[in-house]
């Protein structure tokens, strides 16, 4: 199993509060990703990183920001959480070559009331 740890695994918070999710990897992979999974939508990419301090937007990036200050950690921040951001969030990693599979963490279930 790829060494990916997501924290927290579960979180309940209120609308308008800031939330930060953490993804930690021990594989020294260059690429890291944040996805959300919602019923009827599969997994959708929020943001990704292709190196330390190098990040870019995915298809559903509004309301989210990310940071990557070191190879092993990729943080996802909801500056002011909304109920529409209630979801399961998955972090993934991949090596720095084309057509390599991404490996996923076990997810964070986030509920915003």
């Amino acid at each position: 199993d790829a060494g990916i740890t997501q924290s927290p695994r579960h979180k309940v918070t209120e609308t308008g509060t800031p939330v930060t999710l953490r993804c930690h990897q021990t594989e020294n992979h260059r690429y890291m990703y944040w996805y959300r999974q919602d019923p009827g939508h599969g997994l959708r990419l929020i943001h990704y990183s292709y190196g330390v301090k190098d990040t870019d937007k995915g298809e559903v990036s509004d309301g989210y920001s990310v940071s990557r200050s070191k190879t092993e950690d990729f943080l996802l921040t909801l500056e002011s959480a909304t109920s529409s951001q209630t979801s399961v969030y998955f972090c993934a990693i991949s090596r720095d070559s084309n057509n390599q599979p991404q490996h996923f963490g076990d997810g964070t279930r986030l509920s915003i009331l």
């Binding site: 599969g42 997994l43 998955f90 991949s94």
Partner: protein, 112 residues
């Protein structure tokens, strides 16, 4: 617009029989495809992949077939086992390298 489509939300098969999960894509430039399996409360697990230079890739009980002219791929599981019961996603990085686009998934139930 969905670029990777899984049109069957669910599939039920008997243990020992073949499971066939289908996936269609819209962009003929897509050249690499992956299948993931997901159990409840766990992350997706990579299962098998195929490059467009092939039309078949096999790994044990799992075989993926790619029909480029039809823009269609399928995952065959033979024989199916109850432990295969999970949601299966097909995905492709498309033309964007690294950024996977997923189908909505198919829930496979294998009945003992």
């Amino acid at each position: 617009d969905q670029q990777v489509k899984q049109n069957s939300p669910s599939l039920s098969v008997q243990e020992g029989r073949i499971s066939i999960l289908n996936c269609d894509y819209t962009n003929s430039m897509f050249d690499y495809f992956l299948w993931y399996k997901k159990y409840p409360a766990e992350g997706p697990t990579f299962l098998i992949s195929i490059s467009s230079i092939k039309d078949k890739n096999e790994d044990g009980r799992f075989t993926v077939f790619l029909n480029k002219s039809a823009k269609h791929l399928s995952l065959h599981i033979v024989p199916s086992q109850p432990g295969d019961s999970a949601v299966y996603f097909c995905a492709s990085p498309g033309g964007s390298n690294y950024k996977l686009t997923f189908g909505k998934g198919t829930l496979l139930t294998v009945n003992p």
